[in-house]
Symmetry: C2
Subunit: 357 residues, 2 copies
């Protein structure tokens, strides 16, 4: 059993930023990446939080991810653009791209920006949610290293390419749907492996394409299963076109894992912003979304269910909890982080007082 010590988001932010600076990333870029990782941990999406930092550092040190992110707009109209991230940091290139989409949306009602030759961009919601304060709907998609088979197959070709839609509300909190196109994140299978417990047969298949409950089998020669069977597989494939092929970047086997330290990952993204005011009166839109949220919550629950959640609601509640009580980080992750810290002479994170108890 790991002991989970807790840390305030500000400490996670500070630590990530200093480590990245230590690895040669300039301060302003390090801050963006740190904000992205911290946002994931605050929202309870541990798999995309500070535990990713060592993998970023490893790529920077191996020279297969650029320390300096030089974003270049290679194609542009009033409403769309393509950004070449030139193998820079995914969060830096993506923040640049989403900001560009927001500016275009302000002028045209919609802005769409594709990014090629990028890297792991963290949680999709980080970018989509940038639209919310501007009364825009934000969308964020990325492709990723092959992890799922096309439906009916038994070899990985499609990434767990996530979908995120962020929708502003009025007095209620926004609706934020953010999910991979696999049934579960790979991290959950890795956790089961660590705990030596079986996984449900809907999560992964073995090397023959047969459902497996053995996390070892799933992670060795198996594949993750898409959500919704052939539907999830089809949507994930379409996202590989939108994020990979459309911006003129890599797709399918052309996208590499973060762990592959001998080459660039060639990840691609697509961001969109829809300016609500261009479509309908903002006040009316927000009132309707508030009503929708309340009607969803008021749905009579199924047997055994206590409460109906709106997409994103659990994550917003987790943010409050994280800011109040801190974020638990497992000893295994801390050990890796301490390695980074000592290498660059970064001060360790100070735990929330009493959180060890």
């Amino acid at each position: 059993m790991y002991m989970n010590v807790k840390y305030y988001p500000s400490e996670i932010q500070r630590f990530c930023c200093e480590v990245l600076e230590g690895a040669g990333v300039r301060r302003s870029d390090a801050e963006i990446v740190a904000r992205n990782l911290t946002a994931a941990d605050r929202r309870g999406i541990e798999s995309h939080g500070i535990m990713r930092l060592p993998s970023y550092v490893a790529r920077l040190e191996a020279g297969v991810m650029e320390k300096e992110t030089v974003t270049r707009v290679v194609r542009e109209t009033r409403a769309i653009a393509v950004v070449d991230a030139a193998n820079g940091l995914g969060a830096v290139a993506s923040t640049f791209a989403m900001k560009l989409a927001l500016r275009k949306s302000e002028e045209c009602g919609v802005g769409i920006v594709g990014v090629k030759s990028s890297n792991h961009y963290g949680i999709a919601g980080f970018y989509a949610m940038m639209a919310l304060s501007r009364d825009m709907i934000g969308l964020s998609f990325t492709n990723a290293v092959p992890a799922m088979a096309p439906w009916g197959g038994r070899a990985a070709y499609i990434g767990t390419n996530p979908i995120c839609v962020a929708i502003p509300a009025g007095v209620e909190r926004p609706i934020v749907y953010d999910g991979a196109t696999s049934v579960v994140a790979k991290g959950k299978i890795m956790l089961a492996q660590k705990k030596r417990v079986p996984i449900p047969p809907t999560w992964a298949a073995d090397g023959w394409g047969r459902p497996t409950t053995d996390p070892d089998v799933a992670l060795s020669d198996g594949v993750l299963l898409p959500f919704g069977g052939y539907k999830g597989s089809g949507i994930a494939l379409a996202l590989d076109v939108l994020c990979g092929v459309l911006p003129g970047g890599a797709f399918g086997f052309g996208v590499a894992a973060i762990a592959a330290l001998d080459r660039s990952t060639e990840v691609g993204h697509l961001f969109a912003a829809l300016d609500i005011a261009a479509f309908s009166p903002v006040g009316e839109f927000k009132e309707k979304v508030d009503r929708m949220i309340r009607e969803v919550r008021a749905t009579p629950p199924a047997e055994g269910i206590e409460r109906i959640y709106v997409p994103g609601e659990i994550e917003f509640e987790k943010e409050v909890e994280s800011d109040t009580n801190g974020i638990a980080i497992s000893q295994a992750v801390l050990d890796e982080l301490h390695g980074c810290a000592s290498k660059y002479g970064v001060e360790l994170m100070k735990p929330v007082s009493g959180s060890r108890a």
Copy 2:
């Protein structure tokens, strides 16, 4: 057992067109709706084909759907628009809207058009595929009458709101993903009911939100289940915002069933077109999509699987089969169609010769 007599698409087109004209729809509009219904049958999507015609006629006769479709652009920028369909025919308003999206995309690289106060629009793919010949990616979404519960609930609030993405290829056929956000279409449960066979427990829930294998229970006080569990539920809800709330239209309980002959359905749609040339060289894009299609097909199949299909491939093969051998229509559907025909003095469809054998 029903006997399935077959008909060529041209006869289905002719018949639908004449019946709609009989019901008071002007010829050019009747042709569009007929093309939409015929396209569904050609592609093997029987649930959205000519079997829908009697329900359209019933709405026209009851005066709850306008015979004349007056589309009005109520909001517009260079890249986006909102169309008020004023309770006209869904396929007519949607064809107008998608064409507008294509024009905008030509100018801006992207065009997005929302439609409010519309009606059932048939298969989503009909509109998305209009983008293909222009070397654009087409997207098509609609909301629909509540049929699924928000995840964890047991009462219908969200429609089976479909997602369609149509992607041009080079020498290969396009990738066309077109699917509802429910595990299966309601029509499949109705078919099981007719055949008196149980349904898989993943398709629907009873009035308590418990999975059911009884089609009667599913269709009386039950709900359809979303594809991919909470993920499909979240995506379907987001689509209700994009198709319903964003264009200033109805959502949730505000959308009515086609069968509700006492009110307008208030269905909303969203269409998008992305001009490939604005993002990357078209030739390169198509070569990559061709490669993707071949790589997907070449995936080693899982145990018991003979062939891996690309999204849309089954439907394209079905089109060829339909054009060659005709489309099977069940006697139950024919009986209803004959009712329409005799009312308006329309000549019955001539079966493919020998198809009764």
